[in-house]
């Protein structure tokens, strides 16, 4: 099977994630965009591992998951605190800081 298809898929996923971050306004959704990007990276990692015939990529993917998890935890905490203070999860509502 042609493994490069996975690379293209992961690139597409990464791009979608990036677009979500840039275009969506709800912080949770933005955050999910970031997670999508990280998971796209994981997909690539595993594909490359298969391509190169070594295990490094799979190990890397494990670590990326850890980091993603840690990021989720911190992110959720931050989003929670701001949500509790404002009752809104929209990026646009967070507008006290302006140029």
């Amino acid at each position: 099977m042609d493994l490069s298809a996975y690379i293209y898929l992961s690139t597409v996923l990464f791009t979608i994630g990036a677009l979500v971050v840039l275009l969506r306004r709800n912080t949770i959704i933005v955050f999910m965009g970031v997670e999508l990007m990280l998971n796209a990276c994981n997909l690539s990692l595993i594909t490359f591992a298969r391509m190169h015939g070594n295990l490094d990529g799979q190990v890397y993917a494990l670590f990326v998951m850890v980091v993603a998890a840690a990021e989720v935890v911190v992110g959720l905490a931050i989003i929670m605190s701001i949500y509790r203070a404002r009752r809104s999860a929209s990026v646009d509502d967070a507008n006290l800081l302006k140029l």
Partner: protein, 380 residues
């Protein structure tokens, strides 16, 4: 500058990747149509088991509570479940106005269909001959089979939370949340209890794990893990005394309050199939799977563990867990939510952690591994 690392840069690269995920059990002689036939077979087996278990549960609890239980349909009421199912189909299918329509339909579909998948990796017997092919009595096996169960369970948890959320009503939401919190809380302890099994079996493949219990059922050396697993398995399936997500005293019906007709039926079905899955897994991981129990297993060099015999032993062991489920339901009251969480986080998880460390050390001390020297370790 001192050169320290005598480390070859390609050390990791030298480890070859298995280029296809060859299962541990030998499936090489299994054509795809045979897999399909086995799939249908296991499916039917599960559905029949569900039909029986609901009747069984009600009868048994009836006995425990000094009443007859269902006895109208069929001999000793054995067709009761079938009748209930038909009744459910006839009922009106109400979708609340507040509901998120797509998710509202998707949630029971997820629960109902995903429940089956996990059972696919559970070995129900050794190799048998079917239609001229030699094949294990197991739908499939992968090197990460046990992980697959957890993964599917993880996805299925979405079914509950989505059901609660999409109903657009307070009690289901709370129920969904509770059920999710419950599932993830107990999943950790469950996951930790599995670590000990993997340590001993050296694999996550279910057939491998069963094979590793040739001499000892893991329930004995890993008794603590077994206990934790059994507790968490009850918590995971939202069964009494841990059925807080649908605690009718507090939450109406929990996450499925707004569901009716066969949509509700799917949750119902899912719950029972999940019971079978976790019970089957418990059998596989701790009770030697399809192997015949001790005195019988020893007869004639394990003759009774081979071939179609496996299904018998497996079914018996699995049903003993089902009996245990029912027994619990018949005898224990529902715990409070805080007690439940406290048990999970403050008892099971710390103890499991300590236990994992202990097992690791025990394992390391094993002379066959000999991390602490090859001499026999004073303990065990």
């Amino acid at each position: 500058v001192t050169e320290l690392a005598a480390y070859s840069p390609t050390a990791l690269a030298a480890v070859p990747v298995p280029l296809s995920d060859l299962p541990v059990a030998d499936f090489s002689d299994t054509p795809w149509w045979l897999s399909l036939i086995k799939a249908v077979g296991i499916f039917v087996y599960l559905l029949l088991s569900v039909l029986v278990v609901i009747w069984f549960e009600r009868r048994l609890i009836g006995r425990m509570q000094q009443r007859p239980g269902p006895n109208r349909f069929g001999p000793i009421g054995i067709l009761q479940t079938l009748a209930d199912g038909l009744k459910l189909i006839m009922k009106e299918d109400v979708t609340p106005t507040n509901a998120d329509k797509v998710m509202f339909v998707l949630a029971p579909l997820m629960v109902g269909s995903l429940a089956f998948v996990s059972f696919g990796i559970i070995p129900m017997g050794g190799e048998v001959s079917m239609f001229g092919h030699t094949t294990p009595l197991q739908l499939t096996d992968t090197p990460v089979a046990t992980l697959l169960v957890l993964a599917v369970a993880g996805v299925a948890a979405y079914g509950f939370v989505l059901a609660g959320w999409s109903s657009g009503s307070t009690y289901p939401l709370l129920g969904g949340l509770r059920s999710t919190a419950q599932v993830i809380s107990y999943e950790i302890a469950m996951g930790l209890s599995l670590v000990a099994v993997f340590l001993y079996a050296g694999s996550m493949s279910t057939s491998q794990i069963v094979a590793a219990q040739d001499r000892w059922w893991f329930a004995f050396p890993l008794f603590f893990s077994f206990v934790v697993y059994v507790i968490t398995m009850v918590g995971e399936t939202n069964r009494l005394p841990f059925d807080l997500a649908e605690g009718e005293g507090e939450l109406g019906g929990g996450f499925h309050t707004e569901y009716s007709s066969m949509k509700f039926g799917m949750f119902f079905l899912g719950e029972y199939i999940n019971m079978f899955t976790v019970a089957g897994l418990a059998t596989t991981l701790f009770l030697g799977g399809y192997h015949a129990p001790w005195p019988i297993g020893a007869i004639n060099d394990g003759m009774f563990s081979e071939g179609w015999w496996g299904i018998l032993w497996f079914t018996l062991k699995m049903w003993s867990f089902i009996f245990f489920y029912v027994w619990l339901r018949g005898s224990l009251p529902r715990v409070r939510y805080d007690q439940f969480m406290k048990l999970g986080w403050k008892v099971l998880i710390p103890l499991s952690l300590v236990w994992v460390v202990a097992v690791i050390l025990m394992r390391a001390a094993d002379p066959s591994i000999g991390y602490f020297g090859s001499g026999r370790w004073p303990v065990i």
